[in-house]
């Protein structure tokens, strides 16, 4: 500042002679980095290392928030805990009831499909991960979770919460990973309307409470309140997981496609834990093999760095 420039005891700073050269060198390095990173080349292992180094900082930066949650939880009153306990018991009972029916339905389904052996369970492995930080801006909607390659997380692994699909793993570090939310504008997932099996693609809008379905014709049979589930196409998400509820359909007579909006069922931004799941490939509901979907948007990439 003025005081600085006028400080008599300092030598006058002239133009740094090497700044131009240095900038040139760094520019070349950055461009090389960008090039290799875009092609998922050797910079993947560099990023892997950097992500490991960034993890402690992310932990520290998000610690006040987590401390607050911890404080609120540990100061819960007895009455509140009792109430919560009662509620959870009730939910547990409901789920048990649903599960009973589920077994019967699965048996019936097997008969209908004329399968003589029981279907293998769809989910083979699940991993509970804590959300360390949430990034929600119009360009990026991501979560950082506290599980990484050390826990067996891999790219394109599906993240869900108790209500629906949350997203998928995009970057894996040693102890942490990045999950892209379904509301991220760069994310698209293949969905199906439960009511009539109509298939489409739900894209993120950049707002955490909204997905858009840009590829439905004006005359397609979709209306507000329709439940969208994953269709199982695309090679990442298994079939039949709830995704969103259609909130509004606008049909302009002069346009070819309807403007369909939907609200994600999963609690994308106020979730504190997500479940990473792995599927049994022999179950028919598991994501279609890569060979079948060569042109898909979300084809799983090679996991090795």
């Amino acid at each position: 500042m003025a005081g600085f420039a006028a400080a008599g005891r300092r030598t006058h700073y002239g133009r740094t002679p090497a700044a131009g050269l240095r900038f040139f060198v760094y520019a070349v390095i950055s461009i090389l980095l960008m090039y290799t990173d875009e092609r998922r080349g050797w910079s993947d292992s560099l990023r892997y290392g950097l992500q490991g180094a960034a993890y402690p900082v992310q932990m520290v930066v998000s610690s006040p928030q987590r401390f607050w949650h911890w404080l609120r939880e540990s100061s819960a009153t007895r009455a509140r805990l009792k109430e919560e306990n009662a509620r959870l018991t009730e939910t547990g009972r409901d789920l048990q009831l649903a599960q009973l029916r589920m077994a019967a339905l699965e048996a019936e389904n097997r008969q209908l499909r004329e399968l003589h052996t029981a279907l293998p369970p769809l989910v083979t492995k699940r991993l509970l991960a804590e959300v360390i930080s949430i990034e929600t801006n119009p360009l990026r909607q991501r979560l950082i979770i506290n599980k990484g390659r050390a826990d067996g997380v891999h790219r394109n692994q599906v993240a869900v919460d108790g209500y629906g699909i949350v997203g998928q793993v995009t970057k894996v570090g040693p102890w942490s990973s990045e999950v892209i939310l379904i509301s991220d504008p760069e994310h698209a997932l293949p969905v199906q309307v439960v009511r009539n099996q109509l298939r489409s693609v739900a894209e993120g809008s950049g707002r955490s409470g909204e997905l858009v379905l840009p590829f439905l014709a004006v005359n397609s049979d979709v209306k507000a309140g329709d439940l969208l589930v994953t269709s199982g196409l695309g090679g990442v998400f298994p079939a039949g997981y709830p995704v969103a509820k259609v909130t509004g359909v606008v049909r302009e007579p002069d346009q070819l496609v309807a403007q369909v909006r939907a609200a994600p069922l999963a609690r994308l931004t106020d979730t504190r834990e997500v479940l990473l799941i792995e599927f049994n490939a022999t179950n028919p509901a598991a994501p279609a093999a890569e060979a079948l979907i060569s042109g898909a948007v979300n084809a799983p990439a090679d996991d090795t760095p």
């Binding site: 500042m1 003025a2 005081g3 600085f4 420039a5 400080a7 300092r10 030598t11 700073y13 133009r15 740094t16 700044a19 131009g20 240095r22 900038f23 760094y26 520019a27 390095i29 950055s30 461009i31 090389l32 980095l33 960008m34 290799t36 990173d37 875009e38 910079s43 560099l46 990023r47 950097l50 992500q51 180094a53 960034a54 900082v57 992310q58 930066v61 998000s62 928030q65 930080s133 949430i134 990034e135 929600t136 801006n137 119009p138 360009l139 990026r140 991501r142 995009t170 970057k171 990045e178 504008p185 760069e186 950049g206 707002r207 955490s208």
Partner: protein
């Protein structure tokens, strides 16, 4: 001479700015959050170009790339560019009153975001939306404040 004098303040202020840049914020605050680290890098590039310039900018940008999950080298390139400009024009910039420095700073932020935006566009990432330009104005408005705070680190009165 000045590295010993300024090295620690530069590093510390950059670290604080980094934390401010990556601390999770709700949606509406996140889109107008000033680019603290960029402001600090521009400040040190203009005020102490012998201590911290393009090198600081490059590594700060790389750190931003990692924390924001961007293309590796994207922020590094953009930040190195405006840091270079700040070093190149530091004498002109220093001679101006704070208000005019803010305008310089605004121009720098626009160049920075323009570079990020172009790279996003070229690499096929989502580059649409006027949202992304929104933070440049609060950043420029924050300049006098940043300059005032950082000024204390190298001009003991």
């Amino acid at each position: 001479m000045s590295l010993r004098e300024h090295g620690a303040p530069v590093f510390l202020t950059a670290l604080v700015a980094l934390v401010l840049s990556i601390v999770p914020l709700p949606f509406w605050l996140a889109i107008i959050r000033p680019a603290f680290l960029v402001l600090v890098v521009v400040y040190w590039s203009a005020m102490a170009p012998h201590v911290a310039g393009v090198t600081l900018a490059f590594f700060a940008g790389l750190v931003l790339d990692v924390f924001q999950g961007a293309l590796l080298g994207q922020h590094a390139f953009a930040l190195a560019l405006i840091s270079y400009l700040a070093v190149r024009f530091h004498l002109q910039m220093r001679a101006k009153p704070l208000f005019e420095q803010s305008i310089y700073c605004f121009a720098a932020m626009l160049i920075y975001e323009l570079v990020l935006w172009s790279i996003d566009g070229w690499t096929g990432h989502n580059s649409a939306g006027a949202w992304r330009w929104l933070y440049t104005l609060p950043s420029a408005l924050l300049w006098p404040f940043v300059a005032g705070v950082l000024g204390r680190f190298h001009a003991p009165s």
